[in-house]
């Protein structure tokens, strides 16, 4: 990654929102020196500072993404660290937690070292890797969690493979807890989803596509909560798609279980009705569900049941997606449009204000993994975004930085746009 920018930075006259400090100033200033946020610049530093006029814009902590993929190693036709982190910067994300289902999988120290080496050269934002929970995310034998922790993983997960065996999940939770590693779990009972391509409901019946019932997610969300109770381990439920799952997490939190959860921005915006013409770009795992689910997820985001909004960036090549619906791989490339999608759905949609939305993009996800990110407090890294919440735009393919060809929101009218992004005070996006 590029080193921090040590010269002084002064963002002047923007609305300052820092949910981690409950700060919302209509017009304020943000200063950075040596890549770190400071309360004030000396007169000498002010004189030589780069000054950015933030009038009419919002300055906030850079976003923290708990669920994305950067293609490397092994899937560089879909994405690379260079293109993926460039896309992240354009989307306002300054910290990325990457999934370990690369080729080979990040289930060993060597692969993690390779990833770190690539990132040190190529990344324009901070990349924090996860390791698999089981070897090859096959759900059979535990991966070397202790060694991977030493190699820098911030969490462990079998990502979309899930762990299908409750005994293995129980032991994995106990073992991971010893290293203070949060287990991220993708909730999918695969015995109920064989051949399934989309949410099971009226649309799947009309389209003749094999459906994926909510229960396939909710059963695992339930078992995860029960195992969290049994083991006292930290578990984080990834990309919830059903209102029922949110209710399960709500009950678990009411019981003070150490369960957290996230939702992808796309699931806040769209439903399975968008699949009426078989768009492969919207074939995602978990699937888009119904309007009632979408509204329940927004409600859960607002009441804190859901801690974080993730991008769930899963790049695929245009060629991979240019085929019959059931033959297309799952996944949407979303880093560049996640903020705008969530803002359009939640804020422009009239459900909550910008402060709440930003909390779920910054300190919310940071807290899930105990990361020193997502804050504007003095001493924190100067990872910042400048936003124009009023901007309306339609993403265009030629403007996107991701190498992938599966951003489903191309041409979709969105409200709210990232104007500039800084990592360690170094500008990584924006004019």
């Amino acid at each position: 990654m590029n080193p921090a920018d040590h010269s002084p930075l002064w963002i002047r006259g923007a609305r300052v929102i820092d949910p981690s400090a409950k700060r919302d100033e209509a017009k304020g200033d943000i200063y950075a020196l040596d890549g770190v946020i400071v309360d004030q610049l000396s007169a000498a530093d002010q004189a030589k500072a780069r000054i950015i006029d933030g009038t009419g814009l919002v300055v906030a902590p850079g976003f923290v993404d708990l669920n994305c993929r950067l293609g490397e190693p092994g899937r560089s036709a879909r994405e690379t660290v260079r293109t993926g982190t460039r896309a992240a910067a354009a989307g306002g994300f300054t910290t990325l937690v990457t999934m370990p289902d690369s080729l080979p999988a990040a289930d060993n120290v060597g692969t993690l070292q390779l990833l770190r080496e690539i990132c040190s050269r190529e990344a324009s934002v901070r990349v924090l890797p996860t390791g698999t929970l089981t070897k090859g995310h096959e759900g059979k034998a535990l991966a070397p969690l202790g060694s991977m922790k030493k190699a820098g993983v911030v969490a462990v997960t079998d990502t979309t493979s899930g762990v299908q065996n409750n005994e293995i999940m129980r032991r994995a939770l106990e073992y991971a807890a010893m290293f203070d590693l949060v287990v991220l779990d993708h909730c999918q009972d695969s015995s109920m989803t064989e051949g399934a391509q989309m949410h099971e409901g009226a649309w799947s019946l009309r389209l003749g596509v094999r459906g994926w019932p909510r229960a396939a997610e909710e059963i695992v969300a339930s078992s995860d909560c029960l195992l969290a109770e049994l083991t006292k381990a930290r578990i984080h439920l990834q990309h919830l798609s059903s209102g029922g799952s949110a209710e399960i997490v709500r009950r678990a939190k009411a019981k003070k279980l150490s369960v957290t959860s996230e939702v992808s921005a796309l699931h806040l915006l769209l439903t399975d009705a968008s699949l009426a013409n078989y768009p492969t770009s919207l074939k995602t795992n978990p699937p888009l569900r119904e309007e009632a689910d979408r509204l329940a997820l927004i409600a859960a985001l607002i009441d804190g049941t859901i801690d974080a909004i993730c991008s769930d960036h899963s790049p695929c090549t245009a060629t991979e997606k240019d085929c019959e619906f059931d033959l297309a791989p799952f996944g949407a490339a979303t880093l560049e449009t996640a903020f705008a999608a969530a803002h359009t759905a939640v804020v422009a949609g009239g459900h909550a204000d910008l402060v709440l939305l930003l909390a779920r993009l910054t300190c919310g996800p940071a807290k899930v993994l105990g990361l020193a990110a997502g804050t504007l407090r003095a001493g924190a890294a100067a990872d910042l975004v400048l936003l124009d919440p009023k901007a309306t735009w339609k993403p265009r393919a030629q403007d996107l930085h991701s190498k992938s060809g599966n951003n489903p929101l191309i041409g979709h009218a969105l409200t709210g746009r990232v104007q500039a992004t800084f990592v360690g005070a170094r500008q990584v996006h924006g004019a």
Partner: protein, 326 residues
């Protein structure tokens, strides 16, 4: 052009374009009632051409490719004969979608076929939505001969055409579709087609194959799990083939159990109104969803359906290829 009674003359072509503008037939969903009825009037005119020794040359010099990526004998043959009766050249390609996937994408296969100067592709494919996808990729006609569990529009058209022939109209008829609705493209297309033409549709069969949630997808239908109730007041019962290849074993215990609960035999056929007819898209599983005494009995219109299928497919091929400006 030999024909006086159909489409070939300048004025008739203009009339056709006024009523039919679609180059593709990918599903019944995309059709209006007026389009369906227009297609039927054209199919009426093609019926005489079905006689041995008769044929037309409306599509002389044109080429139709049957791209069948899933096994089919009946539908493929019907399309071949339909195209040949119109004077077109026909090439049939039989393979499986899985072997296609290994070598070449569907887009590439189709673009190659198109590059050879073909006028229409008739496709059967195991993937729902594949016909629409192909129609959006190609500028030549794409006719859906069945896409996964989505639609089989020509089957629904020939079924409705047969009902119209028998009863004079489809409006107001009560039609029961019996069997595997969940996995059936024939059922989906028929639900849409019959509803558009004003018939009342009842879906019947075991709860796993006819789930109550179908009512959410198709609010216009009635769902019944009691066979007698489903049969006693309908004008026609459409039996669906129990498709071993699409079902997982969890949907019903055995073929024997299906037959004992829902198979149509003479005793149960007696619950039908005297004038009610029995339909089946074929191929029939004798002794499973229907006993021979019913399939071959006086209520059965199965062979009329097959015959009408040729006329209806002639109309589809002629209208869709005719809709492309040359």
């Amino acid at each position: 052009m030999v024909l006086t009674y159909v489409g070939a003359t300048g004025t008739n072509r203009m009339a056709q374009q006024a009523s039919w503008t679609k180059k593709d037939l990918t599903g019944i969903e995309e059709l209006s009632r007026a389009e369906i009825e227009f297609l039927f009037t054209q199919a009426d005119q093609f019926l005489p051409a079905l006689a041995p020794g008769k044929g037309l040359d409306l599509m002389k010099g044109r080429t139709v490719v049957n791209l069948f990526l899933e096994p089919s004998t009946r539908t493929r043959t019907a399309f071949e004969i339909s195209a040949k009766k119109l004077g077109a050249e026909v090439v049939s390609i039989n393979t499986t979608a899985s072997s296609l996937v290994k070598g070449e994408t569907l887009r590439d296969t189709a673009m190659n076929i198109r590059a050879m100067g073909v006028d229409a592709i008739v496709m059967r494919h195991s993937s729902a939505g594949s016909a629409r996808y192909l129609g959006s990729v190609l500028d030549i006609s794409v006719i859906n001969a069945g896409d996964g569990a989505h639609e089989h529009p020509t089957q629904a058209l020939l079924d409705a055409f047969t009902l119209r022939q028998r009863f004079g109209k489809v409006q107001g008829l009560k039609v029961t579709i019996l069997g595997d609705i969940l996995f059936s493209r024939v059922a989906r297309s028929n639900i849409l087609c019959l509803s558009k033409l004003g018939a009342e549709v009842t879906l019947a069969g075991p709860a796993t194959l006819v789930p109550a949630s179908l009512k959410e997808a198709f609010p216009q239908v009635r769902i019944v799990h009691d066979l007698k109730e489903a049969l006693q007041d309908c004008d026609a019962v459409m039996l669906l083939r129990i498709q071993h290849e699409r079902q997982t074993t969890t949907h019903f215990p055995s073929l024997g159990e299906y037959t004992s609960q829902f198979g149509l035999n003479a005793e149960r056929a007696a619950w039908l109104k005297p004038e009610a007819i029995v339909m089946h898209p074929g191929p029939i599983n004798r002794g499973v969803e229907v006993e021979s005494e019913v399939a071959d009995g006086p209520r059965s219109v199965i062979l009329e359906q097959v015959r009408n299928g040729v006329a209806v497919r002639m109309a589809v091929l002629n209208l869709c290829t005719g809709a492309i400006a040359r």
